[in-house]
């Protein structure tokens, strides 16, 4: 098991962001983390990537309690742009290369080229769509064991979405795990082989696509409508 979360909870004041999430992630899978806005997807991802501290519960990564060393193997991409405003696109590559041994600068530049981004552009001048592509290029240029992609298709036009899904599929390998959070279920249904449905800070359904299809005999999109409709 790559990652085990046990009874995770996080409150902001009295407001629960995550009430009680227990789930396991296996290596070699691409998971869709599904749920509407405010269901706790982002907070869970931030907890696993070490940005948010759990109020309760524990996270076990490859058999040990999650710690800051594990960030070397976990690639998190937030839904919002987060690059330093003084940086150019090429500086983002240098930053990742400085801190992540698994970062492949050549792949980064190939991804930039594919996403039609100019390395000389300043990050603060990028449109939201361009910033989203840059986040993805930087994250997918790592050879991480666990990728956490928070709404990777947010703010991306239809044509670029195909390129992004291609890049994600290329990154998927038997020795890594990808978790994509989204509410655009139709867009990722053909790519994922595991699904986690989150509602009001709790996991309501999780499993491999084969298990879910065998049990419910419905598409993920139909299940999504049934759970959240």
């Amino acid at each position: 098991m790559l990652l085990e979360c046990n009874s995770l909870a996080k409150y902001y004041g009295r407001k629960p962001a995550v009430r009680n999430i227990s789930l396991n992630l296996e290596t070699g899978r691409v998971y869709g983390l599904l749920g509407p806005n405010g269901s706790g997807k982002t907070t869970w991802m931030k907890m696993v990537s070490g940005l948010v501290k759990a109020w309760k519960g524990d996270i076990t990564y490859q058999g040990h309690a999650l710690n800051y060393h594990d960030k070397a193997e976990i690639a998190y991409m937030s839904t919002e742009p987060f690059f330093y405003s003084f940086m150019k696109i090429k500086d983002v590559g240098s930053y990742y290369a400085d801190f992540f041994a698994d970062f492949d600068k050549d792949r980064f530049y190939r991804l930039l080229d594919r996403m039609e981004l100019d390395p000389r552009d300043k990050t603060r001048t990028l449109s939201s769509g361009m910033a989203a592509k840059l986040k993805l290029a930087a994250t997918l240029a790592r050879d991480a064991k666990l990728y956490l992609l928070d709404e990777p298709l947010n703010g991306i036009d239809l044509v670029a979405r195909d390129r992004i899904m291609e890049a994600i599929v290329e990154t998927s390998a038997p020795n890594n795990t990808i978790v994509m959070s989204t509410h655009l279920v139709d867009e990722i249904e053909g790519t994922i082989n595991g699904a986690i449905f989150v509602k009001e800070g709790e996991v309501v359904l999780a499993g491999s696509m084969e298990e879910i299809r065998a049990r419910y005999d419905e598409s993920i999109a139909d299940l999504y409508r049934k759970i959240y409709g």
């Binding site: 902001y12 330093y84 003084f86 992540f100």
Partner: protein, 250 residues
């Protein structure tokens, strides 16, 4: 940690470039005024140099706190806290960058002073006369004879106090962002906590200074205060690191 330091340095270098450019312009103005015997120019440049010194020392003192606040408050925090480094390493890099920025500012002002002083000497008196004049001026101002070990202790105390101020600010910002991360008044609360930490520090150093008897030398008296401030600074930094490592959510 050097890589963390590199980016912390870059976050703050912009203001130093601006300070450097202002100092250079004022030095050129002063030198021209001195060499061309335009006293008005030199006097104006000196007034602005002093003003620049006051504003720069205040701004450089708090800049590392403003950067830390931004680093825990905005989305840029992900850049810093997603890297496989402990919160202790991150804070150490920030402190190191703050110290180096302070030293750089001191060096820039020192260089400006040397340039202006040299220009004055070239236009007016000999170096020996000028040094003598400076010594007399300081002795008259403070009504003391200069003792170099006291100067060294005073400079060290000032330096440690400055670092203590930064460590207090770090502790206040991290404590408030840890406990009240979503409060709009977090900035104001951090300032209040900062004042409380400073009050506690002064109280503690005062008590420790009180341990020395009237028969002790002034050196022992001030050294006790210096050691107490340094000790409190270390405690504040370790506490900040612990809070950031265990409790801080960004």
């Amino acid at each position: 940690m050097l890589k963390l330091f590199k980016y912390e340095w870059r976050k703050q270098i912009g203001s130093k470039i601006i300070i450097g450019c202002i100092l250079l312009a004022l030095c050129v103005f002063y030198v021209l005024g001195t060499l061309l015997k335009k006293d008005g120019w030199s006097e104006l440049a000196m007034v602005f140099l002093v003003l620049a010194g006051v504003f720069a020392s205040i701004y450089v003192g708090i800049e590392s706190l403003l950067v830390l606040d931004r680093d825990v408050r905005t989305k840029e925090s992900y850049m810093l806290f997603m890297v496989p480094k402990s919160a202790y390493q991150i804070l150490a890099a920030k402190i190191l960058a703050a110290i180096c920025q302070i030293l750089l500012t001191i060096v820039m002002f020192g260089a400006a002073f040397v340039i202006c002083f040299t220009a004055y000497m070239a236009a007016n008196e000999s170096i020996a006369e000028m040094l003598d004049y400076l010594r007399q001026m300081v002795e008259q101002m403070f009504e003391v004879e200069i003792e170099w070990d006291m100067v060294a202790l005073a400079v060290t105390s000032m330096f440690v106090s400055w670092i203590n101020m930064i460590a207090s600010g770090f502790a206040a910002i991290i404590a408030v962002r840890t406990v009240l991360s979503r409060t709009k008044l977090a900035g104001l609360l951090a300032f209040v906590v900062y004042l409380l930490i400073n009050w506690g520090t002064n109280l503690l150093t005062g008590r420790i200074n009180g341990l020395s008897t009237g028969e002790d030398t002034w050196m022992l008296y001030y050294s006790l205060g210096l050691a107490a401030t340094a000790g409190i600074t270390v405690v504040l930094l370790v506490l900040s690191g612990w809070m950031a490592e265990k409790k801080l959510s960004v």
